[in-house]
């Protein structure tokens, strides 16, 4: 019933508007069409000026309202993202200047040069000088943006530092899974043909390197201040590891692993204090349409201090020992303290 009334109301408004429009046509015939046309011209010219003024106020107001909600006031959560933020600022300033100049000219000219019987249009067909000016200036501005942009691009997409922690990120409909290489720092091989409901990443457990690998779902832990290199896989369709707070993004493509590295610089705790939001969480959004539950393919990153990270790592058991508890976990010969802790945890569990 309510919908019916809404439609009836809409139809009524429609009819009223139409009748007014129709009436205005008759009025214009009575008043003289040329006179009406000129009146309309003045009104529209005035509206164009108003649109410019209110539009610019609107742009400013929108910025006041929404800028605090963007990620820039809180700053980039990764070292590499700083480059992107400063690049963004340069681009906003340069394009902002051009935006204001051109929009003001467009609407101001429209208003100022509205039809006027006392003035004739000025015949001005071309000017090589002017055209050269506005070919050169944009070219210079763009050259600046390209140079800065590519500098940042090559830095971010370059090889990850040697000491980077490696984490394998796998997307599938509709969840994220993570694999840490364990004390040997080498991820075991995978092969999608080895997929089973239990071994859902298709890990090749004949590869000894896989025996200490740790497999977790949804939540990835990372230490602050250490570069991390993600090796990204997809099992089914294309997904995308979207890390808005770190200003990064990389597709997960079935059959073609991709990589992405960055250095987290603010822990989750610190960010909660900084933003005054006790619920603040670094989220991984899937940024490539991947099916019906694309919007719910959420991952979480917890950035913590090195101590907390090591403690968390020590609490994890390897996927191998989870899947094959009957087999003894392989002896681990390493001096790494994390590894010892892991080994100890494994001991106590047995």
């Amino acid at each position: 019933m309510k919908e019916f009334l809404m439609i009836a109301l809409g139809a009524l408004i429609f009819v009223v508007v139409f009748q007014i429009a129709k009436a205005s046509e008759y009025v214009s015939i009575l008043k003289g069409e040329e006179k009406t046309r000129k009146q309309n011209n003045r009104i529209n010219a005035f509206f164009l000026l108003g649109f410019l003024v209110f539009g610019l106020i609107g742009v400013w107001y929108c910025n006041e309202l929404l800028y605090p909600k963007t990620l820039f006031p809180q700053g980039s959560a990764s070292v590499e993202g700083e480059e992107i933020d400063s690049m963004m600022m340069i681009t906003i300033i340069l394009t902002g200047i051009i935006f204001i100049i051109t929009q003001v000219l467009l609407f101001w000219f429209s208003f100022k040069y509205q039809e006027n019987d006392n003035r004739k249009a000025y015949y001005f067909a071309h000017s090589t000088k002017l055209e050269l000016i506005w070919t050169t200036i944009p070219a210079i501005v763009l050259a600046i943006l390209i140079v800065f942009g590519l500098k940042a691009w090559f830095k971010i997409t370059g090889d990850a530092p040697k000491d980077a922690i490696v984490v394998e990120v796998t997307g599938h409909q509709f969840a994220w899974e993570f694999r840490y290489p364990g004390p040997d720092k080498v991820l075991g091989k995978t092969n999608y043909k080895l997929y089973t409901a239990k071994n859902n990443l298709g890990v090749d457990f004949n590869d000894p390197a896989s025996h200490d690998d740790i497999h977790v779902n949804t939540t990835m832990h990372l230490p602050v201040g250490v570069p991390v290199k993600m090796v990204i896989h997809s099992q089914d369709v294309i997904h995308d590891v979207g890390l808005p707070h770190f200003r990064l993004k990389m597709d997960a493509v079935p059959g073609i692993p991709t990589t992405q590295w960055f250095t987290p610089k603010i822990t989750t705790e610190e960010m909660r204090k900084k933003t005054g939001n006790p619920e603040f969480t670094y989220e991984i959004s899937c940024d490539q349409l991947c099916g019906a539950n694309h919007f719910a393919m959420r991952g979480v990153i917890i950035v913590e201090t090195m101590e907390e990270y090591k403690k968390w790592l020590a609490e994890q058991t390897s996927e191998y020992s989870n899947l094959f508890p009957e087999k003894t976990a392989p002896a681990i010969n390493t001096t790494d303290s994390t590894a010892k802790q892991t080994a100890q945890v494994l001991e106590t569990k047995k």
Partner: protein, 598 residues
């Protein structure tokens, strides 16, 4: 003035005379070979598609704006797709996909180019009809066939395609990946293949007609900019659509014949697929090799139309005619060299990425030339704000706004943050969506008197313009901020996300504006169809005091356009306010004391 030899369309005017053959209803309105009628067929079909595509956006904006509300009438309308009055995610994505497909291809490619290329090319170059009226007719009917198939896909039990208008495989290749990929996707692909045939038939015809059928004196440098823009549009289409065609056919093979062009290493729904060695990224290259030129296939006609209308209504020559043609050419060439900027985050070689950054940002130079030339055309004019003129000014404003944000996205470093966020939605909706719709509307308002011999209602047109431009900015401007906050596009619901749920209020606001703007478009549609039959009659052959040849044809031009000889052309299309004369049509011979024009 140059005396470039032009090929006259000899012979035809002896054959075609206005009343020489009896036409039945079928041959006049259905299987017509008259370019003017075919143009109207494209236009009306395009408008119908625009209403459907627009309505889809209203429905999915309801979900985005009011994720916690149920709308029982939606269930009446959509059945199990909106069980309980709430849109299902599957169908939400189907609507998003269809909205994109319909607007990009059916409205802004066929509806825009199909209408204005067909209508304006013969009339503005001084030809009796297209080079091949038969192919022209087939072009429409292939489009019609594509439309029927696409429309039918809405009624498939598993729903229409739902992988986004970019239909990236494997999502679009595997029925297990989404319901839209079960059967709906085959309809989509077959429909698109038909659409491409239509587009190629049309495009070849436009190019041939422009190159070989110009009237005496109509050298290339005297062509109106609309015709130049439509020529480059046709060239873009003819060279890039076949690549999409191959991409579409290979995807059909992968879906139905067990090939592995795009598939490799896939486990889905617990099943290990045997496909090996394909590349999902290959499809993206094939798709965007059309997909990027497609953006200009949509934008160039709008640029041409706006150039023409701005010049006529400023009562001034278009500033820098040769620069306008040159920049169209530059855009047309660069359009083929920038496609991979849609793929910066696919893991491509960073060096390759840097080349695409360079080429992409280069496009800003010809675009800037165009903008400054439009501004200079307005400068010291004597401007008449007809509805067509207002929409052209709106087009320039939107083109500036949307073009500038392209500089963000074309820079790969910034794209790392902005890719696939609402920033992208804001960017392309403003620069190619709304701007081109404005170009199309400008063209409709400007040439309506020529097409139908009647005027549209001005008051309704002014209301339409003001609500639409204010609404368009209110809808898309705030989306830039959502994108800067990293809010991903194509999400059904944001309420589960700490990072994005603060935009709930804004999303609601945007949805309100969408509904209002859509309602006002219906006002336009009503104005259009009502004026076609009941509008004020045109009594003046040249109501806008325009120079181009279409206004030398009778108010109701018959098949063959000019009852007698085709007018001869003596000058360029933009001699307004020259030598103290208000305007000098192209068919007026050059006087002895006239100063040299361009």
């Amino acid at each position: 003035m140059s005396s470039v030899a032009t090929v006259q369309h000899a012979g035809v005017h002896e054959v075609h005379h206005e009343h020489h053959h009896h036409e039945t209803f079928i041959s006049k309105y259905v299987f017509s070979q008259d370019h003017k009628m075919i143009s109207k067929q494209f236009l009306v079909t395009g408008i119908i598609w625009a209403i459907i595509g627009g309505l889809f956006s209203v429905i999915f904006r309801l979900q985005l704006g009011f994720p916690d509300t149920t709308f029982p009438w939606l269930e009446d309308l959509l059945g199990h797709w909106a069980a309980g009055g709430k849109l299902k995610p599957d169908f939400y994505y189907a609507l998003v996909t269809m909205h994109g497909t319909i607007l990009v291809f059916f409205v802004l490619t066929a509806g825009l180019s199909g209408t204005f290329a067909n209508y304006l090319i013969p009339l503005q170059i001084g030809a009796r009809d297209m080079a091949s009226p038969m192919l022209n007719m087939l072009s429409y009917w292939f489009f019609f066939l594509a439309s029927i198939i696409m429309f039918a896909s809405l009624f498939v039990q598993t729903g229409p395609a739902s992988g986004g208008w970019t239909i990236y495989p494997p999502l679009s290749a595997l029925g297990d990946a989404s319901t839209g990929s079960v059967v709906g996707m085959d309809y989509w692909l077959v429909s698109m293949a038909m659409f491409i045939v239509s587009s190629l038939l049309g495009g070849l015809n436009y190019i041939t007609t422009i190159l070989s059928m110009r009237t005496k004196g109509m050298s290339m440098t005297r062509l109106p900019l609309t015709v130049w823009a439509l020529l480059f549009t046709a060239i873009l289409g003819v060279l890039s659509f076949p690549v999409l065609f191959s991409g579409v056919i290979l995807l059909l093979f992968d879906r139905n014949l067990g090939t592995s062009f795009y598939l490799s290493d896939i486990v889905i729904a617990g099943k290990i697929l045997p496909n090996e060695g394909g590349s999902a990224i290959l499809f993206q290259h094939l798709f965007w090799f059309l997909g990027h030129p497609e953006v200009y296939i949509i934008a160039l006609p709008a640029m041409g139309i706006s150039s023409e209308i701005i010049s006529v209504n400023s009562r001034k020559p278009i500033f820098g005619y040769m620069a306008m043609v040159g920049s169209l050419f530059a855009i047309c060439t660069l359009a083929f060299l920038v496609w991979a900027h849609h793929m910066f985050v696919t893991g491509m070689n960073p060096f390759l990425g840097s080349v695409f950054v360079l080429l992409t940002l280069l496009i800003a130079v010809p675009s800037a030339i165009k903008v400054f030339n439009w501004l200079t055309t307005l400068w010291r004019g004597n401007i008449r704000f007809t509805p067509g003129m207002l929409f052209s000014i709106g087009f320039v404003s939107l083109f500036i706004s949307g073009g500038l944000t392209g500089i963000f996205l074309g820079n790969s470093a910034l794209d790392l943050h902005l890719h696939d966020t609402y920033f992208v939605i804001a960017h392309f909706h403003i620069v190619m969506g709304v701007a081109s719709i404005f170009g199309m509307l400008a063209g409709i308002y400007h040439w309506f008197p020529k097409m139908f011999g009647r005027y549209m209602n001005n008051t309704l047109a002014y209301i339409h313009f003001w609500v639409t431009i204010v609404g368009a900015y209110l809808i898309f401007w705030p989306m830039h901020y959502e994108g800067l906050a990293g809010m991903p596009r194509r999400y059904y619901d944001y309420s589960g996300w700490n990072s994005f749920k603060m935009f709930a209020g804004l999303n609601e606001f945007i949805s309100f504006v969408v509904i209002i703007v859509f309602a006002v478009q219906l006002l336009f549609v009503f104005n259009f169809f009502y004026s076609m039959y009941k509008g004020r009659k045109v009594t003046n052959q040249n109501p806008w005091q325009s120079n181009t040849l279409e206004w030398t044809a009778p108010i109701h031009p018959g098949h063959g356009n000019w009852p007698g000889e085709i007018p001869e052309v003596y000058r360029g299309a933009y001699e307004y306010s020259k030598d103290g004369k208000e305007y000098i049509p192209q068919n007026v011979p050059v006087g002895d004391e006239e100063t040299k024009g361009h």
